[in-house]
Amino acid sequence: MEALKSLTAKALVVHRDNIDTDQIIPARFLKVTDKAGLGDALFADWRYAEDGTPKSDFVLNQPWAKGRAILVAGQNFGSGSSREHAPWALLGYGFRAVIARSFADIFRNNALKNGVLPVALGKTEHSKVLAALAADRDAELTVDLEMCALGLGGEHIANFEVDAFARHCLLNGLDQLGYLLHFEADIERYEAERSTRAY
């Protein structure tokens, strides 16, 4: 996982609540056996017409939208399916942070394990970000994971919460499997105790 300490970037807004993982990446793209190319399928049904041509009214298809690393959405982002293809698609497209009012549990976990930072904001702060981006779509946001702070063009907007352990892993680019493997002795002890059970 690529470490993330602080990110200053322009943002894209898809202001909808309950953006489910079927919208982030529809099921027909889940027939893959690796993670390659999933960024092209991000928001596929909103982004492309049935014949595959980009829809001119969707934000990701605007000429100015290229290369933006922060996505801003509404409430309950990532609800529904547990497909990790959702953060893979976001990351594949180039997003490293998603700002929303709230996140679904499984998505939040999956995102953090892939170096995509979920930033949950309160109503006021979220509105402030939306208003600023409505006034200037090129406004730069700074997501500072070390300080757990969100800035907008140099102005402090909000502090956000991230699970301490996930933050530690993300700041250092550590993956959790390596960490878990250190506890071999504990797992063995637990398994030995369990094996004495009658059923």
Binding site: N18, G80, E84, Q176, L181, A198
Partner: protein, 471 residues
């Protein structure tokens, strides 16, 4: 000194702590790991990359369900990409020593259907799968939840996960369910009440007389939909029904071990005086058949109610969301859904593909004909269920009525196996998600119970099942 009163969730949790350290999530042991073709390939690849072995191959069980065609020609109609995914699962299972119930196997079926029916799912267990509807297994008093593919690799390699202790949320459903109202209606009513994120960060414990009166199948339907209310898991304390369901199943303990297991399982109840972080009470006697009208499972209501109007909603954002949803669905605010024409009826999925669901639907199909122009798919959740339904003659009832009787699988719950809606089509579906395009790009889904779905098939439109008695 007596121990502190505990919730069921806490009891199961405490039994599975491998290690705890300040500043990090607990390391939790996983008793049963279920895998399928879609969310496992990259997890095995992660093992491969690091040269790791599978820690406890016998604790992982694999099935093929999402991309498997339910067309009786099966492999002939399989597309190349899905074939590759299925072949890879077979290869991985062989290489790592995992039991696989693949396509065509006697024990094959939807992952959340076969776990319980084989007796793999047992009270007090921790159960995970790279699949959000793993919550289904909570019906047995197991702590069961969906995980991502990275976590699948964690379980494969260490049999453990890093998790925070979940908050528990009591959902108390009391009273007698009216005739024609079942577990699916309870589930949709709860989600309509608290929304698709009402349970975020929590595990539901379903309690109360209405829950106790549900069959194990009904309890599975209810726990299955926990995730649609945002809760990663939902569970129900095991009772005599649970034990009766499990006794004698392939992987259930036998003989003295069974006695010991049941004695232990009886202790898996929330103690008197234990506190929940949140609570919700529902009066079962007031419930009606439910149906969704929008593009998330929280947009549902009693089938005979008129559709909500955006202007009646409190917040602008909620009004905008409702407008978008009704627009996608091609529905007018304030109108009734009753009588709305449907193109397809789907009876199946890990929510409603079990024998009792099929029996319920068959009661309505019996002696009647599917309306002209309605395509009706009845898809059993597993080979076991298919055999049982055929032994009871249910397949004949469905076929005679003009419905298609298919091979087991996820089918039209998820548009990735050939069964899907065409753009603009309306379906009444017993599955769990009405998201845009979930059943096929541009498809429009009304979620409902097997009874309500069967009634729609017969009448060709959204129909209150209470107006159609058993045939």
């Amino acid at each position: 000194m007596s121990q502190q009163a505990q919730t069921l969730v806490d009891k199961v949790w405490d039994r599975h702590i491998v290690s705890e350290e300040p500043g990090r999530p607990s390391m939790v042991y996983i008793d049963l790991h279920l895998i399928h073709e879609v969310t496992s390939p990259q997890a095995f690849a992660a093992l491969e990359e690091r040269g790791l072995k599978l820690r406890q191959p016998q604790r992982t069980v694999a099935t093929m369900d999402h991309s498997t065609p339910t067309d009786p020609r099966r492999l002939e109609v399989l597309d190349g990409q899905s074939r590759k995914q299925l072949d890879l699962l077979r290869h991985n299972c062989e290489k790592y020593g995992v039991t696989l119930y693949g396509i065509g196997h006697d024990r094959n079926g939807i992952v959340h259907v076969i776990g319980p029916e084989l007796g793999l799912t047992q009270p007090g267990m921790t159960i995970v799968c790279g699949d959000s509807h793993t919550s289904t297994h909570g019906a047995f008093g197991a702590l069961a939840f969906g995980i991502g593919t990275t976590e699948v690799s964690h379980v494969l390699a260490t049999q453990c996960l890093l998790q925070h202790r979940p908050e528990s949320f009591e959902v108390y459903v009391d009273g007698a369910l009216p005739a024609g109202v079942g577990a699916k209606d309870i589930a949709l009513a709860i989600i309509a009440e608290i929304g698709t994120d009402g349970g975020t960060g929590h595990v539901f414990e379903f309690r109360g007389s209405a829950i106790e009166s549900l069959s194990m199948e009904g309890r599975m339907t209810l726990c299955n939909m926990s995730i649609e209310a945002g809760a990663r898991a939902g569970l129900i304390a095991p009772d005599e029904k649970t034990f009766a369901y499990l006794e004698g199943r392939d992987f259930a303990p036998k003989g003295a071990a069974w006695q010991a297991a049941v004695a232990d399982w009886r202790s898996l109840r929330t103690d008197e005086g234990a506190t929940f972080s949140r609570s919700l009470t529902i009066d079962a006697s007031e419930l009606a058949p439910m149906i969704t009208f929008g593009t998330n499972p929280g947009m549902g209501q009693a089938i005979d109610k008129h559709l909500p109007r955006p202007e009646d909603l409190e917040s602008d954002q909620a009004a905008a969301e409702l407008r978008k949803a009704l627009d996608y669905m091609g529905l007018e605010p304030g109108k009734t859904l009753l009588g709305h024409p449907v193109d397809v009826v789907f009876i199946g999925s890990c929510t409603n593909s079990r024998i009792s669901d099929l029996r319920e639907a068959a009661e309505i199909f019996s002696g009647r004909q599917v309306a002209n122009g309605v395509r009706t798919l009845v898809v059993p959740g597993s080979q076991n269920i298919k055999r049982q339904a055929e032994a009871e003659g249910l397949d004949v009832v469905f076929r005679t009525a003009g419905a298609e009787w298919r091979e087991p699988g996820c089918s039209m719950c998820i548009a990735m196996n050939g069964d899907q809606l065409s753009p603009g089509q309306y379906a009444v579906s017993t599955s769990n998600r009405n998201f845009e395009g979930r059943q096929g790009r541009g498809g429009r889904t009304f979620l409902a119970s097997p009874r309500t779905a069967a009634a729609a098939a017969i009448r060709g439109c959204v129909t209150d099942p209470r107006t159609l008695t058993a045939g």
